[in-house]
């Protein structure tokens, strides 16, 4: 299994591409990056199982991930893609399962670690609130009955 050692900067850069953290300043991202850990998966290993309590977010660093919804493959993630972004806040049950394809390395951020950082920085919470409001607004504007 190949292992990668990501620097704090690498981790912050990866996190910065997650929509939830869009617009956050690098200074706010570093403490979150510090809480994120590299996790290695072998071929077929499960990252998350459909229906389980969501514990956090995964960003694919290398390798690939299959998304399986009720037994059917519905998507494939590669480096830079992520899943469970909202679970880092609300820990809702996973809507699908995810399995590694070949050796895969991910950056994982647990919701409790994430919250510890947000707790220490209310301005960060405010920025996240803003980001969510923006996404809700743009989705509402585009949705038709």
């Amino acid at each position: 299994m190949a292992t990668m050692v990501l620097t704090l900067d690498d981790k912050a850069a990866a996190l910065g591409r997650v929509a939830l953290f869009d617009g956050l300043e690098r200074a706010s991202l570093l403490p979150i990056a510090d809480a994120a850990t590299e996790v290695a998966f072998g071929d077929g290993d499960a990252l998350v199982i459909q229906g389980q309590v969501g514990t956090g977010l995964f960003i694919v660093v290398s390798g690939a991930v299959r998304i399986v919804l009720s037994g059917e493959d519905v998507a494939r993630l590669g480096p830079g893609d992520y899943l469970g972004e909202l679970a880092v806040i609300d820990r809702q049950p996973r809507s699908a399962s995810a399995f590694a394809v070949g050796d895969t390395t991910c950056l994982a951020l647990a919701s409790w670690d994430f919250f510890r950082r947000v707790d220490a920085d209310p301005a960060l919470a405010h920025a996240l609130l803003r980001g969510l409001a923006l996404r809700i607004r743009s989705l509402s504007e585009h949705h038709h009955h």
Binding site: P122, H126, L132, R137
Partner: protein, 140 residues
């Protein structure tokens, strides 16, 4: 000032303020202003600036975009935060559906309020996430 104890109790029963100890709830009760609306009165106005933040205490409100009802909100729900956070007028009207009691906070002091009550902000984060999940589902 008239007895705010009843208002403090009421706020304590709402999810948004569920984590607050009583002294903090009292501070919240003193910071917000109670308002009363008759059926059909507009609370939030699409396209107008300077709107505030509202939490529903009693009754129902209808969310309307160009006259068409999109959602109903009930006791404990909040609205108006999007416009304040984004610095843009609201994208929808919110109208009283029957008699409604709300508490209101002016836009200019919203951020300061959240900073002073981070527990409220986290509850809002969770609710916003729920709304985003819901909006994501509808947009497919």
């Amino acid at each position: 000032m008239a007895d705010t104890e009843a208002l403090i109790d009421e706020l304590g029963g709402l999810a948004l303020f569920a984590d607050l100890p009583r002294p903090e709830l009292a501070a919240v009760a003193h910071t917000f202003e109670e308002e009363w609306y008759a059926d059909g009165q507009r609370i939030l106005r699409e396209g107008l600036s300077g709107t505030g933040f509202y939490v529903v205490l009693e009754g129902d409100v209808a969310v309307r975009i160009t006259g068409e009802e999109r959602a109903r909100l009930h006791r404990g729900a909040f609205f108006g935060e999007g416009a304040i956070l984004l610095g843009e007028p609201p994208g929808a009207d919110v109208v009283a559906a029957g008699r409604v009691r709300v508490v209101n906070l002016a836009g200019p002091v919203f951020r300061e309020f959240l900073m002073r009550h981070p527990d409220v902000m986290y509850r809002m984060l969770q609710e916003q996430t729920r709304r985003l999940r819901s909006a994501n589902r509808w947009s497919r």
